[in-house]
Symmetry: C2
Subunit: 112 residues, 2 copies
DNA sequence: ACATGCTACCTTGTTATGCAAGGTACTGTG
DNA sequence: CACAGTACCTTGCATAACAAGGTAGCATGT
């Protein structure tokens, strides 16, 4: 239970990074995002994603367009704005910095 | 400001992982932990660390002993308990899983 | 003896995120 | 026209990092 907690917490922010990455090259709607993330072992509920997507759209990092579906109500297909593409680059840099920090700590621990 | 926010959020949980890693082989007290983390580009304030260390100690993942200092009040030197060592292993696995998830998303994005 | 500064430990209030649970609305089917 | 399925969204909770502020031990200088 303790480990589970921190392992969830490790995902904070990373989820946003993954979503922005997935939207880099394609328009995706929410349910598809969820199954993409699930395929990468990142289990998320729609109650997590909708607020996140709305927040990113309100800050103009994401945009969407409605598209009708063959099997139900219309869907919001999201994509990156230009600012969103810049943001993705910043997140990629941040991710590299963090992994490097973690690795330097793991390395430092064994050698020192 | 937006990017800064998520980049901070990316560190959630990772900080705990780093601390447990640093304590794997040595006894360290708080100020030393902070400078070790700073050396790895993970800036943290003591207001973040003290609650974290107390929490880990209350859940019996960390233990401490008092040691007097030449230049001021005594210090709490922390180290891992046996449960803490197991916890570290769980965190290492979780970290590997997460980095793999992120990489699979980054890769998948370029190829698909 | 005492004031001052430094170090170390700790607490409180704020903000933000992920999640569970619950709710609304559109679409197709019998 | 009821019903199931899909898609979108909101509310309340728990947790973590942080800023700011507080207490107390120790050394130094007068």
């Amino acid at each position: 239970m303790d480990a589970k907690n921190t392992i969830s917490q490790m995902r904070r922010g990373i989820l946003e990074f993954c979503i922005v990455s997935l939207l880099a090259d394609q328009e995706i709607y929410t349910a598809e995002l969820i199954s993409r993330l699930k395929a990468a072992n990142l289990i998320v509920t729609d109650g997590t994603l909708y607020p996140l997507l709305n927040r990113l759209q309100k800050t103009e990092l994401l945009q969407y367009r409605w598209e009708e579906s063959d099997s139900g109500p219309p869907r919001k297909y999201y994509s990156l704005t230009e600012a969103g593409a810049d943001y993705l680059q910043a997140l990629e840099t941040a991710w590299q910095d963090i992994t490097e920090s973690v690795h330097s700590i793991l390395r430092g621990n064994n050698s020192e």
